[in-house]
């Protein structure tokens, strides 16, 4: 039958397309009629839906993967979710929507690879899984025999690292988890939370009840550019219900665009501002007396410590108008106790003083009575999953000189500070480290001073990674094992235990792994076998999931009958009396002064230690996120790359005018150690202080195997060479670097438009001779290590 004839027939037979409930105009009829077989619904309609959990970032939004013809065609939020699924919607962010393009990215690593060139060169041959596993096991065994178990270190991030972590623990290394996610990110805020409140109010999870807040304070947090869906939903919800917003940030962020007050603070002086606010609140009686007397300890010590912190003093140090500082604190205080002082997330800023800054934020919240309060910080609701019998967790015996030993408040957290591992690898002190395993962390685009990291890698006997993409990390590895994308595997059970409602859900495969990619559980199990370690008592991941779900009277099957997600009430969110802290004590107790800090020769109350200001001619390099990318992981994703292929260097408009820089012009950034970026376009804007240059993080990939992301934009990470370690828990600082502009090969010194008060020291840049030496070193390095080929 000809197409035209068929159309005539079908038109006459009043086409209803039974079963599809399709009764539309000719527009569709025509399109369907030509297929002649039961027509497929357009778009993602009619797809098979598999509930799971997103991993385009680490917020773990419940999703459904929509599968047609054996392929994932679209991802939507799980409509059953009380967070991203509420109100008849099914939200996922741009990245969540782009999971499809991670899964089917032609640049993916789909076979085990073995290095044949130099480390960093990216020349590999395909090998079999057998060979790859044998190589990894043999090398780990060799290192353990020769140098002891602690000579092995594991860098991990995300759910896929969990099973492998157990293998490293069973190998006996104390360096089994050196999470960049902790030591480069949430470490200081978590340490402040645990010691002040007794629980992690803000870290990987954030118990910030912004939806019910009447006022919100963000210090450096740029919600909206930093997109964690339910977190942004709560933020927007709070604002739309009339919450006032104060944003403290040297850059006019998206959040600042929504703020009632934007305070463009001099970087490194946040604690001065907070101390002046605490003093103001105490002096003017703007605190919640009942809450403080009932739940807080150390008020007198605090009062004494903040005395003298006038608004005038803060205004001068922070380079802010005093009346605006006052207006801000009045606005926040007026909303108490329903005021959300956001404790922050990425907090490894200046090394020194980071814990104090977050301690000050928590104190301010406590003074407002905003802990365990609607609109303030809430508590997690305990949800008990079943005990896992199928995985035997090893007890790790610490070394005589543990790498975390220097840091008295590192103890409740697993693993060792990242830079202690790197330094031990470089120096062999206090003991040698000779093998690295990496999973889910692209170290060179994450850890300050990637040049030092490369130096350390050169000293290793063995390094392997478990990766989805041929990242910079992979380039430096001896063996690369192909990881599965989250849409291809099971993972742990996920519990969301905050407001408005809690839930339990699981990650599960929507499709079979592509190529020879294998799940983290499979890899861990196979590796454990070869290492002769009894870690896993089962061959089945589902068995582990079922053991966990059993604690809630569920199984994977039951959960899937419920749409992959079961909602539970957030009954403990505001329950101060029954709250149990991480030390097992009942009842909320807030420490306004921390004796444990004093015992370790720290100040019990926050003190202000100014971060050194930019050297003359330089601006401070600040960085942040863009909403469509996760760290350096998504820059190669076709859809996300289209939205945002490269970053821009934000430069203050007055500075740009003085230097003759135009919007869109291409420049290179050079840091205080003479390290230069790839070319990057200038964004001239009044929305940044004159003493800062801003880059969004994760761009400027140095892996030529990432066909889209390679050399696009400037990497902030490769300009972050100077770091200071936090004395509490060993996190390494990221905001301690300074840049100037190179245009057409000529170095431009930045004018200083905001004079520096004498109390703030300047960073001392190494002499010109040293800088030249650095350039020579760079040139030399470029020859032997193509990754540096900038």
């Amino acid at each position: 039958m000809k197409r035209r004839d068929f159309l005539k027939v079908s038109a006459g037979a009043s086409l209803t397309l039974a079963g599809l409930k399709l009764r539309v105009g000719g527009f569709f009829r025509r399109a369907y009629a030509q297929t002649q077989k039961p027509p497929e619904l357009p778009g993602s309609l009619g797809a098979k839906e598999i509930p799971s959990v997103c991993e385009m970032c680490f917020w773990r939004c419940p999703i459904v993967a929509k599968v047609k013809g054996g392929k994932v065609v679209k991802i939507e939020g799980n409509p059953k979710s009380p967070t991203n699924g509420r109100g008849g919607k099914a939200r996922v962010c741009a990245r969540g929507n782009s999971g499809v393009k991670l899964l089917y990215d032609p640049d993916r690593v789909l076979h085990p690879l073995k290095r044949v060139g130099q480390r960093g060169e990216g020349r590999w041959v395909k090998i079999s899984w057998e060979e790859a596993l044998d190589e990894v096991a043999e090398n780990l065994k060799k290192v353990k025999e020769k140098y002891g178990p602690h000579a092995i270190a594991f860098f991990d991030h995300g759910a896929s690292a969990k099973p492998l972590r157990e293998v490293f623990k069973a190998l006996g290394t104390e360096n089994y988890s050196n999470e960049p996610a902790f030591f480069q990110c949430v470490g200081p805020v978590e340490a402040a939370c645990i010691n002040t409140l007794g629980y992690v109010a803000s870290g990987t999870m954030q118990y910030t009840d912004m939806a019910n807040a009447r006022a919100i304070l963000l210090v450096g947090s740029h919600l909206g550019e930093n997109v964690h869906v339910s977190h942004v939903m709560d933020f927007v919800e709070g604002l739309s219900r009339g919450a006032k917003l104060v944003v403290v940030d040297p850059r006019f962020s998206v959040a600042a665009g929504k703020a009632d007050l934007w305070l463009p603070i001099r970087p490194g002086t946040d604690t001065a501002l907070l101390l002046s606010w605490i003093n103001y609140v105490l002096e003017h009686g703007l605190y919640d007396r009942e809450f403080v007397s009932r739940y807080c300890e150390g008020l007198e010590t605090l009062k004494k410590a903040v005395k003298g912190w006038t608004l005038e003093r803060a205004a001068r140090l922070c380079d802010l108008p005093q009346d605006q500082i006052e207006q801000a604190i009045k606005l926040l205080a007026a909303a108490r106790p329903h005021v959300c002082i956001h404790p922050g997330r990425h907090s490894a800023w200046y090394g020194k003083g980071d814990v104090y800054r977050h301690q000050a934020l928590l104190i301010l919240e406590a003074l407002f009575g905003g802990i365990g309060t609607p609109g303030g910080l809430c508590f997690p609701t305990p949800i008990s999953l079943g005990r896992v019998q199928a995985v035997k967790e090893a007890e790790v015996e610490e070394s005589e000189e543990p790498l975390k030993g220097k840091y008295p408040f590192c103890d409740p957290f697993p693993g060792s500070p990242t830079h202690e591992i790197i330094k031990a690898t470089l120096t062999g002190q206090p003991y040698p480290i000779k093998a690295w395993g990496i999973c889910g962390a692209n170290l060179l685009q994450t850890i300050p001073n990637p040049y030092q990291t490369m130096e350390a890698i050169r000293k290793l006997d063995f390094i392997f990674c478990f990766e989805i993409y041929p990242t910079e990390n992979a380039l430096w590895s001896d063996i690369i094992l192909p990881d599965t994308v989250y849409l291809e595997r099971y993972d742990d059970v996920y519990v969301y235990d905050s407001v408005p409602q809690c839930y339990v859900t699981v990650r599960q495969p929507a499709v079979k792994p592509l190529g020879e990619a294998r799940s983290p559980f499979w890899l861990a199990k196979e590796l454990a076998k070869r290492l002769g370690l009894k870690v896993f008592r089962t061959e089945s991941e589902v068995e582990i999931l079922n053991e966990r779900l059993q604690g809630l009277g569920l199984s994977l099957e039951k959960l899937n009958q419920e749409g992959g997600l079961v909602v539970l009430p957030a009954k403990a969110a505001y329950d101060r009396e029954n709250f149990r802290n991480v030390f097992g004590e009942k009842g909320l107790k807030v420490k306004l002064a921390i004796e444990d800090f004093e015992d370790e020769d720290f100040s019990p109350v926050p003190i202000f230690e100014p971060a050194p200001a930019p050297p003359e001619g330089y601006a401070r390099l600040i960085y942040g996120r863009v909403p469509v990318h996760t760290f350096s992981r998504t820059m190669n994703n076709e859809w996300l790359h289209h939205e945002w292929p490269e970053n821009q260097a934000w430069i203050n408009d007055e500075v740009a005018a003085k230097l003759g820089l135009k919007d869109g012009e291409e420049i290179v950034l050079e840091n205080q150690d003479g390290k230069r970026s790839f070319p990057v376009k200038v964004k001239v804007t009044p929305g940044i202080r004159p003493d800062c240059i801003y880059l969004s993080h994760g761009f400027g990939s140095r892996s030529s195997k990432l066909s889209r992301a390679y050399r696009k934009g400037a990497s902030d990470q490769f300009l972050i060479t100077h770091y200071v370690q936090d004395p509490f828990m060993g996190a390494s600082s990221h905001r301690t670097n300074f840049v100037r502009i190179v245009k057409g090969g000529k170095v431009l010194n930045l004018p200083e438009l905001r004079p520096l008060p004498p109390e703030i020291p300047r960073f001392k840049v190494s002499s010109a001779r040293e800088s030249r030496r650095a350039t020579r070193r760079r040139k030399k390095a470029r020859k032997s290590y193509p990754i540096e080929g900038c």
């Binding site: 025509r30 939200r91 929507n97 550019e225 997109v227 289209h642 939205e643 945002w644 490269e646 929305g687």
Partner: protein, 273 residues
């Protein structure tokens, strides 16, 4: 009042996350033209006019987010906002006027009521029940007239197909038929997109439009009745209108009768086939 689907975009809620743009691409398998990577940084209407090419090879998208600012407004305030755009399904769709395909009689069925109506329509038309501007892919000859005519640049030529065709936002007509909501609305993490029928006085869109809070993105020069409205702080609307209110009567430059050479060639080829 006639039914008319409409959307209000609340810039106070929008955080510029681009979920809408990507969800639409995923839902409708809109291809990517990497020559236009980074389109989101375009700040200027004149530049925006060049982003699609009636001859093909322009950017492919039904839905987009442009980032505006931070910059100072006329009042000296700093603003940082977005232009989340899509087809406006205009009251007076100039893109339909320039379609050179001969009108043909077509029966339309209201998917809600089953009511039928017969109309003579070209390859692109304003659908009679809900006012969505749609394209009949079967009859489109890919001439690019409509693409050139749209002052919002809401259409593009999909030249990755064997036969290039015009394509655009349908307000997710197909999804609505199946009881779904538009993909961009469903994914919007900030609930900044409000979709509904202007004829329904109870609908949020009609209330917002009546209140005067939601505004049409138009200028004195270009007033063709867009049915996507924007609301938000004055400073944000100022930025949006300053940069992207249409200010060129693009359709007047498109000659309706003279089909492009490529269009004619395509029609001939199809007849031969």
């Amino acid at each position: 009042m006639r039914h008319q689907w409409a959307m209000v975009i609340d810039l106070d809620r929008c955080v510029g996350c681009h979920a809408c743009a990507v969800a639409c691409r995923a839902e409708w398998q809109v291809p990517v033209n990497h020559d236009h990577d980074g389109y989101a940084f375009i700040q200027d209407y004149e530049e925006w006019l060049k982003v699609v090419d009636p001859e093909g090879g322009g950017d492919y998208r039904r839905n987009w987010v442009l980032r505006l600012g931070p910059e100072r407004t006329s009042q000296g305030e700093l603003a940082f906002t977005f232009y989340p755009g899509l087809c406006n399904h205009c009251d007076d769709p100039v893109c339909v006027k320039v379609c050179p395909v001969d009108p043909e009689e077509r029966e339309f069925v209201d998917f809600k009521t089953g009511k039928k109506v017969t109309l003579k329509v070209k390859a692109t038309y304003k659908e009679p029940f809900y006012g969505a501007v749609l394209i009949d892919q079967e009859r489109c000859i890919g001439c690019g007239n409509c693409v050139a005519a749209c002052p919002y640049r809401a259409r593009y030529i999909n030249d990755t197909l064997e036969e290039p065709k015009a394509d655009k936002c349908t307000f997710c007509y197909e999804r609505l038929v199946h009881g779904e909501i538009p993909a961009c609305v469903k994914t919007c993490i900030a609930d900044a997109r409000i979709f509904g029928d202007l004829a329904d006085p109870q609908s949020e869109v009609s209330q917002l439009v009546r209140s005067g809070r939601a505004r049409r993105l138009e200028s004195d020069l270009v007033k063709i009745g867009p049915n996507v409205y924007f609301m938000g702080k004055e400073k944000n609307l100022e930025l949006l209108f300053k940069h992207f209110a249409p200010r060129k009567r693009t359709w007047e430059e498109v000659e309706v009768k003279a089909r492009t050479r490529r269009g004619i060639l395509k029609v001939v080829l199809r007849k031969l086939a």
